[in-house]
């Protein structure tokens, strides 16, 4: 057997903590091997150490301890020799946005010393692979997110590298482009025998690799073929039917609190469950007695959650309690959108969108980048005037009474939009004042947010230095200070680890049960399962609308259903034009 392309042993790397002294370990004794001609995946949530590990291999960082050899070279000692031979695609690939597709390719071809005749051979291949052939003259900045990623990949492939390092190539890319990227990568490995190391936080992608290294908090939880991780959950996976009159979501929430349960997620109107190992075979946790569980095959994610729960403490139950339930609906929908249109010049960003959301419902807006989700959101919040259509929130027309409507809604933006240099307490105080709260009321609300979102331990931490999960909780706490009836969440879980995501949805479920109406956008298709209704958007239009179960009827997973809906609509469009 040939020597592995990458051999890392007991790698350690720490970074200085922002603000305070002291160091935060990013890699804490990780060993890895990447074999020639194979696809190896680094799997783990944000902050697990994936990027640090890849940067060590690219010679962009030097390890504090351990040994690393890439192609037989120590990248910390001779970075240039490694960099001459590998291809590397960082998470935000550095495309020059003011250069065209062709100019970006030419730049990298020049830097790699690719001759004219090699280009004549290589370029058509790359164009065919990435489907960028008809866009060579377009500026890279004007490409969609998925096309940018494909161009980034093409730039690293202008010549055949001996090792290809990909750092989360599919992050922030819609499911369609994600699938296309994977087709390219799998083709490279299978047909061209390329050695590829890729990192990902999408657990389903790991199943495509020959070997996976599961990272969490700078430590390797497992290194094996993906089946090895999946098998950890063997015989522990069940699917439960909540029974008539019960929602899968509330059953799932209850199950998560059970110590005998490792993981529970809603899926197609039922609940998928992973039991703790201690439970005797045959016996199920108490809560599900009488719900007729049926065993199912484990998935990679199930094994991953078992491994993760082995290290992370079970988060205390987070049952959020409102001080005042939202006012009962005055009949009709809480949010009512009719024929909503938004035009920017001759570009129609939102094209006759209609939907309605009732009190206590969770409504999900799904769609690829540029589908018009955020624009719709901005109009709902009264941040941007619609070009046409009607928008009613709690019976009030947003266009004529924007301020009144806004007082009843809370908004959590996609990016962390609190003041990073203010502490948790200061941020809450500021937002309380901004919502016009005073006196004992204000004190009460701030205490409530601190308690409900478990922020007490970080009260005096600058919010910019909070761990990711806490930032998200603070943002939600701030958005709920004025007791809104409606909560808007724009991509709230992007970048959060699976545990934080489950805790987040646990809170959202609790809010909805108490009558808060929630509208959420997400690009994690599994999260659509938490919603009562979803709408799939593309090109400014709603392509499909219904309950998750109804949408899923078309395919075997939410993601496939999504892709089917979008592709079908695009094909129809293309036919109509032809």
């Amino acid at each position: 057997m040939p020597e592995p392309v990458v051999i890392g042993k007991d790698l350690r790397k720490a970074f200085r903590a922002p603000g305070k002294g002291g160091e935060v370990p990013a890699l804490d004794g990780v060993s890895i091997e990447v074999c020639a001609g194979e696809l190896t995946a680094l799997v783990g949530p944000d902050g697990a150490g994936k990027t640090t590990l890849i940067r060590l291999m690219a010679g962009l960082l030097a390890a504090d301890g351990g040994s690393l050899r890439v192609l037989g070279i120590d990248p910390a000692v001779e970075p240039q020799r490694v960099q001459d031979r590998i291809g590397y695609m960082p998470q935000r690939f550095g495309l020059y946005e003011d250069l065209s597709v062709q100019e970006n390719l030419d730049l990298y071809a020049d830097l790699h010393g690719v001759t004219a005749e090699e280009r004549g051979e290589r370029y058509p291949q790359l164009m065919q692979m990435t489907d960028l052939g008809s866009f060579t003259g377009r500026l890279a900045g004007r490409l969609s997110g998925g096309m940018k990623q494909k161009l980034g990949l093409a730039c690293t492939l202008v010549r055949s590298p001996e090792l290809l390092l990909l750092d989360e190539p599919t992050v922030g890319v819609d499911p369609l482009s994600r699938r296309e990227l994977w087709v390219i990568v799998e083709h490279l490995v299978r047909e061209q025998g390329l050695t590829v190391l890729t990192s990902t936080s999408y657990l389903d992608e790991a199943e495509k690799a020959a070997r996976v290294l599961v990272l969490h908090d700078g430590k390797a939880l497992a290194q094996s073929e993906p089946g090895g991780v999946t098998r950890v959950a063997a015989g522990r996976c069940l699917v439960l039917d909540p029974g008539p009159g019960n929602s899968a979501r509330s059953l799932q929430a209850r199950l998560l609190d059970d110590a005998g349960v490792i993981d529970a997620v809603p899926e197609a109107g039922r609940v998928r469950l992973v039991r703790a190992a201690e439970a005797k075979p045959g016996s199920a946790p108490e809560t599900i007695a009488g719900l007729a569980p049926s065993p199912v095959e484990p998935r990679f994610e199930d094994g991953f959650m078992v491994l993760l729960r082995g290290t992370a403490a079970h988060e205390a139950a987070v049952d959020i309690r409102l001080q005042r339930p939202p006012s009962p609906a005055a009949g009709g929908a809480v949010v009512e959108v009719r024929d909503l249109v938004k035009r920017f010049g001759d570009f129609t960003a939102v094209n006759h969108v209609s939907f309605e959301v009732h009190r206590g419902e969770i409504f999900g807006l799904l769609g690829p980048n540029g589908a018009g989700k955020t624009t719709t959101f901005r109009m709902l919040c009264g941040l941007s005037p619609p070009s046409g259509g009607t928008l009613r929130i709690a019976g009030v027309d947003v266009r004529s009474a924007g301020a009144a409507a806004r007082a009843r809604l809370g908004y959590v933006a996609q990016k962390f939009s609190l003041y990073g240099s203010l502490t948790v307490a200061e941020n809450l105080e500021f937002f309380a004042s901004a919502y016009g709260l005073r006196g004992p009321m204000r004190r009460g609300r701030i205490d409530w947010a601190m308690r409900q979102f478990d922020l007490g331990s970080h009260e005096h931490t600058a919010s910019g230095e909070l761990p990711g999960g806490f930032k998200q909780r603070l943002a939600m706490g701030a958005a709920l200070l004025h007791e809104p009836d409606i909560l808007f969440l724009d991509e709230p879980t992007s970048g959060a680890d699976p545990l934080a995501r489950r805790a987040f949805w646990r809170r959202i479920t609790a809010l909805a049960e108490q009558g808060v109406t929630v509208i959420v956008t997400t690009h994690f298709m599994q999260e659509a399962e938490y919603c009562d209704h979803i709408a799939i958007m593309d090109g400014g239009r709603v392509l499909a609308r219904g309950s998750p179960a109804e949408i899923r009827r078309r395919a075997h997973s939410m993601e496939d259903a999504f892709i089917a809906v979008v592709e079908e609509a695009r094909t129809r469009e293309a036919e109509a034009q032809a």
Binding site: A58, Q80, P90, G94, D98, L107, G113, T156
Partner: protein, 379 residues
Amino acid sequence: MKDQGTSRAKLRRIAALVRKEGLQMIRDPATVAVGVVLPVILILLFGFGLSLDVRNVPLAVVLEDSSAPARNLLAAFALSPYFRPQVVYSLQAADRLMTAGAVDGVLTIPEDFARRFSAGDARIQLLVHGSDANRARIMESYVEGAVGAWSARQSAEEGAAAAGGPVNVQSRLWFNSANDSHYFLVPGLIVLVMTLIGAFLTAMVVAREWERGTFEALFVTPVRSGEILLGKTIPYFALGVLGLLLCIVSGKFLFHVPIVGSLTVLVAGSMLYVMVALGVGLLISSYFRNQLVASQLTMLATFMPALMLSGFLFDLRSMPLVIRAITYLLPARYYVALLQTTFLAGDIWPVILPNAAVLAVMVALLGYASRAVTHKRLG
């Protein structure tokens, strides 16, 4: 495996980086604005804008000659919106007014004015309160303008035969007598423009690459860090030279600034300074990989001192000792000295050589330092 270490491979990579930088430069409206539009705007602003500030200047006129042409000249001043003349009959009286700050200048029309005017050799003397060097310079040029216009009108009215030649204004600055440059404007502007293009723009474009993450992908290629530096330097050097030419051309044809010294020395000295500015910009942006910080810091560290402490706007000799000591650290100081000499006095080697030598040493030091801080490393 191709050999990436040969000098041919190096040159090819540098050429690719220069081409890329050039395309980005042309497509970025901000770069074009700072490199081309700003020099023109600054010249127009400083040239025409500043002069509008001076009006109704109190002026003591010592009328030693009471002939018709002398009174006629006085009337021309009285009618001008720019002056408020006050007639006195002795230099002592004018001196007292000047010391008391009642007037900003003293214009002496000597007793032989009429006689010499008809002979075509008239002289008047101007003493200007020089504490505000700018105002003093503007006043000087206004008086010259007023006298010039007057004598032109005289020749037109009286006919060529009767009229005398031009009137010679001999001006002296009081309290700041060494400051005698009429054409401070263009050399000063060149310093500002070179500083902006050299330091400000490069700091921005390097920081931008860090911010947008474009360096990370670039690093993991056969490209060497020295090549990245050169790839940044060459296009902005070219833009700097373009800005320089714009300043010289507009100075020459718009404001008729003479270039007493040779153009070669002027251009060579400027190239030295652009390289210093580039070095500062590269150094700042390698440390602070953020466009906002880099731009503010370059403004503070290069542009503001070039504006205020280089001897362009405010005379170095009138500064407190401590501040004057600081100016020795500023490259702009040496460049201003070099420029003023070349523009106004000529190729005076004892001035040019030491200043150029200091700039050359700075280029070497900054080049070395930039090279040392630019690693293909993150974190």
